[in-house]
Every structure is written in C-alpha cells, then in structure tokens.
C-alpha cells in the first residue's frame, strides 16, 4: 500500500451521461493524488468544476469514465458506500441546509445513529467531537441560535464523530462572514495538525488557499496548477486571467518586479513582504 488517501485517475464527468442529451464535460481528465495527512486547497472560480470534483470523493457523483479511490475504496463500489462515507466526510456550503437536528449534540450524533453505534461509544465520540471544534458548551443549543461559523463547526463535528481519515469542505466558508471563516479555517487546521486528518478544502478565497500546504488550481474542468501556495500564487497573470485573486502582497511584488525592482516573486504573507521591503530599503539607503 502506498500512503495516498485519495487517488483520482483520468476522471471524466458529464451530467446525465446516460441520458439522451448529456451536458458538456464538466471534468476533463483529472489526475490527482492526495497523501494521508495532507492539507490541500482546491481553488477555482464558480463553474471551474471544483465542486463537481469534490462530490466524486464522496460518491455523491460517480465518474463517467476514470476511477476515484479513497483509502483504497473504489467510489463506484456500491457495497462499500458506507465505509467510504465514514472514511471521507463532507461539509457543504450552506450551514443551514446540512444540520438535521434541532439540538446541536444530536446533530453531531446523526451519522453515528445511522451507523448503529452503541450509546456509550456514541456519547463519548459526540462529546469529543464537540470539544475538538470548541462547541461543547453549545451542545444543548438549537442550531438556529448559532452564527454561521458555529453552524459549520457543528457540521464539522458531525463528520469528526465518524472518525474519518479525510474531510472534504465544499466551499464551506463561502457564505460566512470574515469572523466565521476564520473560525472554520482554524478548526479545520486543528483537525489536520492534531488528528492528522487529510483535508481537501475547496474554496474561491485565495487568502484561505494561501494558508494550505498545497494548492490545486482548477479551470474549465482541468487542473492547471498544483504546487505549494508560494509557487502557485507567483503565477499572478495566469490566476488573474482565470478570474482568481492573488494575495495583495503577491500582487505588489509582481507589480514591483514588472517595474524593475529586484524582489522575489514568491511572497504570499505579510511577514515576508515586510521583510523583503525592508531589505530593499536597506540596500538603497
């Protein structure tokens, strides 16, 4: 066994492939491996195919051709569907439309109830999951009393409770305010660093992608970039052309370079930017 948790091999997908008028190809030959414990961002504009790709990791959609393996399980294997979904949990975009129960802790327990986990085990797992996302004190609240960021954290707890190896977040921060986005992102990061859970973070916010280990950029159903955030964001022109943002500091260094200033292109954080600008002035003063 290799240590790839996700293996996607030449994945093609069109909606209604078996019907008389199938859609255009949404995914046009995706090859992607994700290692156990990685923190990967998939970045792309609306309609780039990033959400469609995410839905393949959880067998919500099945390939028209090609194969998707998650933890060695072929997603098109109907017999192992529950196993797959326990292994790779999914958090969706709209916080309101994925919470089933009117009580936070019961929502977290939902998957475990479905899987027939015994009461004692369930109680412990639910409490652990709620603590992991810092929502334990809200366990008896109603979801309607929570903020968007809190709701998404509850949704994450509901996935964590299944003890998955991998969590896929399908634009889970798109509808949140900045505060909520930060909450969710740091919760996810903790899941990755403390529990070693693989994270596939689908987003169109570059500031979130910039904080991941690896950024996969999708456009028009294909992967066009797959590298560290520094390398990816240094492609300022390409990213702008396909309707994506780059961090302001990256854009600044790109613009300065174009004006003939000697500054590295791979700047994505404020810290580096400050450092490099200071260097420039020490040089010239």
């Amino acid at each position: 066994m290799n240590n790839n948790i996700i293996e996607i091999k030449n994945l093609h997908f069109r909606y209604g492939a078996d019907s008389e008028n199938p859609s255009e190809e949404v995914l046009k030959g995706i090859d992607l491996d994700v290692k156990q414990g990685e923190f990967v961002a998939i970045l792309g504009h609306n309609g780039s195919g990033k959400s469609t790709l995410a839905k393949h990791l959880n067998a919500i959609l099945l390939p028209t051709s090609g194969k998707v393996f998650v933890d060695g399980i072929d997603t098109s294997d109907d017999n192992r569907l529950f196993e797959l979904r326990q292994c790779a949990g999914m958090v969706f975009q709209n916080p309101d439309n994925q919470i089933v129960s009117s009580i936070v802790e019961e929502d977290v327990a939902f998957a475990l109830e479905n899987l027939g986990v015994s009461y004692d085990k369930m109680r412990k797992r639910v409490d652990d999951a709620l603590k992991a996302v810092n929502m334990y004190e809200y366990r008896l609240h109603s979801p309607s009393q929570l903020s968007g960021g809190q709701k998404q954290r509850v949704a994450i707890a509901g996935i964590i409770a299944m003890r998955p190896k991998c969590i896929i977040l399908d634009e889970s921060t798109a509808m949140l305010d900045p505060q909520g986005r930060k909450e969710v992102f740091s919760a996810v990061r903790r899941m990755n660093s403390e529990y070693g859970i693989t994270i596939v973070f689908i987003t169109h916010y570059m500031d979130e992608a910039a904080q991941c280990e690896r950024v996969v950029v999708m456009n028009n159903g294909k992967i066009i970039l797959d590298n560290t955030p520094e390398r990816v964001f240094s492609q300022v022109e390409l990213l702008k052309k396909i309707g994506l943002d780059v961090p302001q500091v990256t854009e600044l260094s790109w613009k300065l370079r174009k004006a003939g200033v000697d500054i590295p292109s791979e700047i994505i954080s404020e810290k580096e930017c400050v450092k490099e600008i200071l260097k420039l002035f020490k040089k010239s003063y």
Binding site: H45, N46, G47, S147, G148, A174, M175, D177, P178, Q179, G180, H204, M206, D207, G243, L244, D245, P247, Q248, V249, E251, L252, K255, L256, A259, V261, E270, C273, V274, I277, L278, L280, F281, S284, Y285
Partner: protein
Amino acid sequence: MAILKTEELTYIYSEGSPFEKTAVDHVSIEIDEGEMVGIIGHTGSGKSTLIQHFNGLLKATSGKVLLDGVDIWADKTKIRDVRFKVGLVFQYPEYQIFEETVYKDIAFGCKNMGLDDTEIKRRVLETASDIGLPEELLKRSPFELSGGQKRRVAIAGVMAMKPEVLILDEPSAGLDPAGRDKIFECIKNYHGKYKNTVLIVSHSMEDTASFADKILVMNKAKVFCYDDTVNVFERAEEITQIGLDVPQITKVFIELKKRGLDFEKEVYTVDYAKELLLKYLKKGK
C-alpha cells in the same frame, strides 16, 4: 446638502423582553447627495438594522431619519414612496426573485410605482444594459441563470426604480472573485452614470477601500467612525483592534512603520503602494 440624515437614531429589538437588545444606538450621520459610502462592521454591529431604517422598513425606537430634510415618518401613508426613493437591495437578493421572466422581475418594482408600460419597458431595458444583462436574457426564466446573473437581475429590479439613494447589503456575498468584480463594476458604472447616492454594506475593507468616498464603521450598535476613506484608514490600527480586517497591504505598511520605515501616507490599494515604494526607492538611489 445631506440627502439622508439620521438624528440620534436608536433601535431596540424586543423591547421589554429578556431578549432585549439595542441594535442601533444613537446614530447621527449625514450622507451627502452623490456620495458613495461604504458601511463596515461585524455581523451584529447594527449595520443591517441601520440601513433598514433608511427606507422605513423598520421604525426607530427613538430618533429620526430625514430624507431630503423631511422626516420619513412625518406622513405614515407616504412611507411606500420613501421605499421608491431609497432603494434597498438585501443580502442574497436572488432569493426574492419570483416572476417567470427576467423582464417581469426587473419590472416588479416599477409596476408597484404605478408607472405606465412604455416607461417600465424603457427603464427595464436601460437598467438591464447598465448591469450587463443582454436583451435576449430578458425573455428567459430567471431561475435558469447563473448565480451571478441572478444577483444582477435582483439588483436591476431595485435600480430600475431609479431611487435617489441606492443601498446594497453585501452585494458580493458568496460570489467568486470574477462575480464580485463584475457586480462592483456595474455598481460603479451606475453611480458614474446617474450620480446618485450609493451605500454599500460590506465585511471587506479591501472591497470597500476600492470604491468608497466615505466609510462608516459600525461597532457594537454605535458609529465607530464616519469619515473620508483616507481619514478612516489613518485609524487602521484601531479598526483592527475592534476585530475588523483591514486590507493586507495596509497591514504591511503599518508593520513597516513600526520597523521604522514610515511613508507618512495611508496605504490601502496595491497600486498606490507600488507607486509609493517606487518613488521612495528612486529617492533613495
């Protein structure tokens, strides 16, 4: 002269109940005709409650809203006319679309104004072209359109009423960078063409900095500051202290100042930062 003015405006939710909460606390501001004002604040800072007073959807617990110098509640029966003069576009406005064609949905507000059919047609066509909706789309069902297009249909519905003041509550929420840029471009064009007053509520200082003449920062139901954009950015550090994000580029320059590299200017756009740096670099050499 101020087109919109509030005097000690206060709004208390569920007054007298245990859930009592002051959402707007003695707010007195003046908005001049033709200005483009950004309103910034956390979720729950009172900014959304405040703007619903401007067109009389909410009635203040105490204090006044003056439109063209007249108290909007002076004649209760005229409150509907106020709504035509102060157009309000809610967050995620595409969820209020209901007509079977785009044309009809844009025309809904105009119809309620009691305009005749030729005038309605003229306005719908004009607004549609202003906001970048091709004419052939007008016959289509709004529900077939993409998210960004739907959003523009909803905004056009309010623009077509030709309000003296147009207020948009987070017009770019949930959109990807391309969708966001398109919306802001349309709003800027609209403002440039008709020179009317535009208020935009946003979470993002970065977006706001790019269009606003003046910025109103709300914090805990009160006005934190209300001033020209440049002056507001002079207080960038205080703004970060109340938990609001300032643009990344501003943070870089705050940090540079701390490190002894003071440019003596407020920086909030990348282009300005570039020019400033280039100028100083040349001087240094």
